[in-house]
Amino acid sequence: MLNINKLYVKINKKIIIKNLNLKIKKNNIHILMGPNGSGKSTLSYVITGKPKYKIINGKIIFNKKKINNLLPNKISKLGIFLTFQYPIEINGITMYSFLKNLIKKKKNKLKIIKKNLKKLKINKEYLKRYFNVGFSGGEKKKNEILQMLILKPKFIILDEIDSGLDIDTLNLIFKIIKEYLFLNKNSSLLIITHNTNIINYINASFIHILYNGKIILTSNKIKKTINYINKYGYNNIKNIKLL
């Protein structure tokens, strides 16, 4: 589904991602971990086409189509969706008037939105509020998942969806995501996280460690890898090859 080949990315004259390779097949869940500033969010931005993130070398292929240099809205239309680590606020635009832009159908927009609000246990009063303005951290994250449910993407990147959530919300969000993957069999998921308990919430098939803009480890022994990181941190990461 997603195939990244020898990718180099530059922002403001600084190379952030160096020679990155990543392959994700359909109907797969991958975990991406790595220290702060290693380039995880940058990678997610590059995949989704954020301007000013210059690809100086390499290719991003999505479903056999090269998507480097495509505009973010075109990439979104292909079925790639990113939940932002820091969702933005839009003062002056209500949730409802924002969300209805995401639905192609002319009829029943409110019905579709309400159905998904219910799943996420968000009060429908929130539709009248300005987009993310005054929302708690957890509410903003729920809002990201809400948009995912409305847009029905094929490939989802969750950038730290789990940080700052209480236990109940965490359980709810992963329950919804698993349900979504069950209903949309061909969809794949890339989970960016710092949460070493992630395996308690979802079963992934691969884990990748990003370090200094490079994927230095890819493994299917997820529990073992995470335990190792828990014990020794990322600084001893070179020895992780012993796994």
């Binding site: 989704t48 086409g49 954020k50 301007p51 505009l71 973010p72 809205n73 979104s76 239309k77 969706f81 990113l82 932002f84 969702p87 933005i88 839009i90 003062n91 002056g92 635009i93 924002f98 832009n101 995401l102 948009q147 847009l151």
Partner: protein, 416 residues
């Protein structure tokens, strides 16, 4: 035509003849069939009115009881056009082409309000302008809500220059919404209209006025709005310029006493060769007055925009609050924009602030919207709507949906 007497029968003949105008008016006030029936001319015929329309005599209009919440006044090519159906108990209209010797009849007003009015009246007489007095009276001691629509209709094949003076005296404890509306008949031909309009609003104690000016028609306009506020009065102005070809907008706010409040919300959306000039003077001559002005503009092409704002704070005044806030978005380097917020402060005890921001499109918002599959143009529209909505979501704007739609369409047009 000069309308000598307000209730003379011959006026109704004109009213019946001009089907086109009546049709337009009916459209404006959403006239329903049933209501025509309960409207009887006979009632009006019985009222005898003196040649010089003294204030005392006006009380006779009491007989007509329509209880309409909205009062529509129509001005055609700058002349008052009688369409009596909506005369309301609370409104007394003195319509006169004022003569100097008649001025004593208005002594009541002059004394009650201020002498500025006198000079204005003389001035307008000398200029041979048509001069209309609207007196909104509160018969009840309680607060009273009234809506007043000033409809300006232009109907001519030739070019029109219309000079018009309107004085609106507002009694105590009234909540009044004034809507200025424009309509052009024979729009297809390229007629030129110059609309030179002077509106004086004198607001008595504890009254609250909302003045809306959302114009859509391409009329060349000189707006002169003079506001006089008494104690604890509130004045809110909503000026939305969406399709102005050429407008000069002079606003003059004067406090006649302490504790007044003023809010000005101004939106300009301009493209092509539009010329828009905003001149504002606010005189803080008293204490505890609070005025805030918000200007947001989006300009493209060869727009020519001038924003002059002067706030004068008089010596030894206390606790005045003044704020001027401009936010300008410029989309083309051919735009001419001159913004000059000015503060003349002669008092130490004052809170003033003026900010001029050249607005920038927030790329984080645009990127977020793009990420959700919304195209670039639509993303920008949503961004600008978010900016304008800070004014448009004001709870006092009634047809906010319709206005938002107009503004959205205009943003679309400007961005293309």
């Amino acid at each position: 035509m000069i309308l000598k007497n307000f209730f003379f029968k011959k006026d109704f003949k004109i009213l019946k003849k001009d089907k086109k105008i009546n049709f337009i008016i009916k459209k404006i006030i959403n006239f329903k069939k049933k209501k025509i029936e309960d409207y009887k001319y006979s009632k009006i015929k019985n009222i005898k009115i003196n040649k010089y329309f003294f204030i005392k005599k006006i009380n006779k209009i009491k007989n007509i009881n329509y209880n309409k919440k909205i009062i529509n006044l129509f001005f055609i090519n700058g002349l008052y056009y009688k369409y009596i159906n909506n005369i309301n108990n609370n409104i007394k209209i003195l319509i006169k082409n004022i003569k100097i010797e008649n001025l004593k009849n208005f002594y009541f007003f002059l004394k009650k309000y201020n002498y500025y009015t006198l000079f204005s009246l003389i001035f307008s007489y000398l200029n041979k302008n048509k001069c209309y007095l609207i007196y909104i009276k509160n018969k009840y001691k309680k607060k009273k809500k009234i809506n007043l629509n000033l409809n300006f209709i232009y109907k001519e094949k030739k070019n029109i220059i219309s000079n018009i003076n309107i004085f609106i005296f507002i009694d105590k404890n009234i909540i009044l919404k004034i809507n200025e509306k424009y309509k052009i008949i024979y729009n297809k031909k390229k007629i030129k209209i110059l609309n030179n309009i002077l509106i004086n609003i004198i607001i008595d104690k504890k009254s609250k006025i909302f003045f809306f000016r959302f114009k859509k028609k391409k009329i060349k306009t000189i707006n002169n709005l003079y506001i006089f506020q008494k104690k604890f009065s509130k004045f809110f102005l909503f000026d939305f310029f969406l399709n102005e070809k050429h407008i000069i907008n002079n606003l003059y706010i004067n406090y006649l006493n302490n504790n007044s409040l003023t809010r000005i919300y101004n939106i300009i959306l301009s493209n092509n060769n539009n010329i828009i000039e905003n001149n504002i003077i606010i005189n803080n001559n008293f204490n505890f007055c609070n005025n805030k002005q918000y200007y947001i503009g989006l300009y493209n092409d060869n727009s020519y925009i001038i924003n002059n704002g002067i706030i004068n704070i008089k010596n030894k005044t206390k606790n005045n609050i003044s704020l001027q806030n401009y936010k300008n978005f410029i989309l083309s380097n051919k735009v001419f924009l001159f913004t000059k917020p000015q503060l003349n402060i002669n008092s130490n005890n004052v809170k003033c602030n003026h900010g001029l921001i050249i607005g920038k499109i927030d790329n984080n918002i645009i990127n977020y919207l793009l990420n959700r599959g919304i195209n670039k143009n639509k993303s920008k529209i949503i961004f600008f709507l978010s900016i304008f909505n800070k004014i448009l979501n004001n709870k006092n704007i009634k047809n906010n949906k319709k206005i938002k739609k107009n503004i959205k369409n205009k943003i679309k047009l400007i961005l293309n």
